[in-house]
Symmetry: C2
Subunit: 396 residues, 2 copies
């Protein structure tokens, strides 16, 4: 029985630590995920040593990451994009391009091989739309044009980040890059994403009824979860990250008429599973890796680079909206979060990223997520205020 | 990456097999759980050998069992009992006593040591109210007095089964029984259950607001899940089964005003996690253990004993309602299911129950669950029909 007790106590400690961390962070007006990762760092080997990362805990954390990206995909609606089309596309594309190029250059000049530099650059890319959306919702400006552009650009951003991650993970392990192999990998990754997003989306729009076919009363959800697990396994099988498959499954299902029900039903599952991912991520941070001047300098440089590259990239994309709006959009796109953290975790598992770089990238993600919300609030509340709209359908 | 792919493929195969099994069973008018266990048996080592039971899969199955018993607890309302008080109490108590005594005697005469015989007897006890409730709901007789007595008795039945399981698990490992130790264990098990059920229930009724204290938007659910994991770990720590703690957590929360929200939020989590428990249970059945005359004879004897003991015990308890109603109540209490299967799994893990006996007990649980629904439907539809009531709040 001792063995069973051990597992249960670990699950309990991890889950409670996540709740306490999230609660403290939120009361300090920071995103909950910051608190969950900090809690993991504290109960992990780095500080208290209460929790050891076992294979059992890791599989639960991985399911958490898959569920999280599935939910992000489910909130990624191609319709959001059409409404603000041109500006959002420019913001999304430039907001990915500039951080990727600058991150890659930094990696190159730090002496990393090209595949590793590309991996690091990918962790620079992904905006956490969830954090920004929550801030926009709290201050009641979701109906403003800047907010719509941000949410639309976040869709492009997510898709491009997944595409980049697909290419970059597939390139790893080949050591140096050879062009025919890279082209093949690029073709395969893009093919997988485009095939599923386009064909899957079309099938779902036409035949949402398929999801209701089983007589199981929980059928739309169970079929959707099966699709999520299936595409995650398929993505991993062809050498992409599993979360890409989960994200695509969500994106495809976002086109069905059961989308809102699914989003609602996914929230309790997220509440149970996702904290395990963030706490395990925090527990994997070796604080000692940050406790020297070199690491802290690198952290400062990377964080600055991450902020400036998004601000400038997205600001340029939104320039036609006027300087102030461009600034708002740029700041709104600064927070990295879930996706960047997952990418860093993947890199650590695949041993592309060292413990030190892992700790630095997580810290950078957290810093951008902590810095952006107050700046955004200040920019919006000093600007002429529009009629606040309470839209309960927005992701928190 | 190969390792990660393996885990994901297993999760996908297990989940999809469960859905297909449940769908086929339900279309054949059998409970979904029968199909999930059969699916596990087919994809497991016994037949196709697609899935191996690893530690990682087992921890997910265990979380599934904990979530399931948490949900059963949440549906266990002391109020249901008060309405039909005396009859339900008599039905519940006699319906536990007779199967336990007859099961224990059978075990004794089969030559088992007393602790083992008690364990087997406990697997005889627990009625699966969920299966009966679904049948009653489908034929629209939930408002009939017999239905109310069945649902009330199921509450008593669940509580007594958990109490018995507590005593019986704690007695294991001591080899033969010594009276002072048994009394201590009895006291500890009863103390834990009564303390949490009574004191916890009181605290919850008075201070439901506590669940709303965190600013986390998912707070009633997250605190409840923390309580569930915490009491599961606590129960395991003092030598009881973890599911007893989960059940008590649910029962305590059933007294809060957030009960219905929690029940709704738990359904998606059940949809994801519980199938893993049943498929793993099925995969653990060694079909070869059933493929001989002796095992099949034992199965026939045990199944008959299980049916007759419930029918007579519960029928006696309901005798004051008239012979026909007593028969209906007796038949309604026959299905074993989740709880009996979990008890058998615990026994197998603790090596109290042999592979052969495990296969037999699972088969008995399934048989009683398959036999009772058509009998119940026949009895009700031939009796004078009452006004059908559609009560969506009933557990499925």
């Amino acid at each position: 029985m001792n063995h069973e007790i051990g597992v249960l106590v670990v699950l309990f400690v991890v889950f409670v630590a996540a709740q306490i961390g999230a609660e403290i962070a939120q009361r300090l007006k920071m995103p909950g995920v910051v608190g969950e990762i900090a809690a993991g760092c504290i109960i992990g080997p780095s500080v208290l040593g209460w929790v050891e990362i076992t294979a059992r805990l890791e599989v639960i954390a991985e399911i958490g990451a898959i569920i999280l990206l599935f939910a992000v995909g489910l909130e990624t609606r191609l319709d959001d994009l059409k409404k603000v089309g041109r500006s959002a596309t420019a913001v999304g594309v430039l907001g990915v391009l500039l951080p990727f190029v600058l991150g890659g250059l930094w990696g190159h000049y730090s002496g990393f091989a090209t595949p590793k530099a590309m991996f690091v650059a990918t962790a620079f890319v992904a905006t956490s739309a969830g954090i920004t959306a929550r801030v926009l919702q709290e201050i009641g400006v979701l109906d403003r044009i800047e907010s719509r552009v941000i949410m639309g650009a976040a869709v492009i951003d997510d898709i491009l980040a997944m595409l980049l991650l697909g290419v970059v993970t597939a390139v790893q392990g080949g050591g140096e890059i050879n062009v025919p192999h890279l082209l093949f990998v690029l073709f395969q990754a893009v093919g997988f994403v485009v095939l599923i997003a386009v064909a899957g989306g079309k099938i779902m729009r036409r035949s949402s009824n398929l999801l209701e076919a089983p007589i199981n009363p929980r059928s739309p959800l169970t079929l959707s979860l099966a699709l999520c697990l299936g595409l995650a396994a398929a993505a991993a099988y062809i050498g992409l990250a599993a979360i890409i498959g989960a994200f695509l499954a969500g994106m495809v299902l976002a086109e069905t008429r059961q989308r809102e029900v699914l989003e609602q039903q996914l929230k309790p599952i997220e509440a149970l599973m996702v904290p395990f991912f963030f706490v395990v991520t925090g527990a994997n941070i070796k604080l000692t890796e940050l406790a020297n001047v070199e690491a802290l300098t690198t952290l400062a440089v990377i964080t600055l680079l991450a902020i400036v590259s998004k601000l400038v990239g997205c600001g340029l994309g939104a320039w036609s909206m006027g300087a102030r709006s461009a600034l708002i959009v740029g700041v709104g796109m600064v927070p990295r979060g879930e996706v960047g953290i997952i990418i860093a975790s993947l890199g650590r598992q695949a041993e592309v990223i060292s413990d030190s770089l892992f700790a630095i990238i997580i810290a950078m993600s957290l810093l951008t997520s902590v810095v952006a919300p107050p700046a955004l609030t200040a920019l919006f509340t000093r600007a002429p205020k529009a009629v606040p709209a309470a839209d309960p359908s927005v992701p928190n």
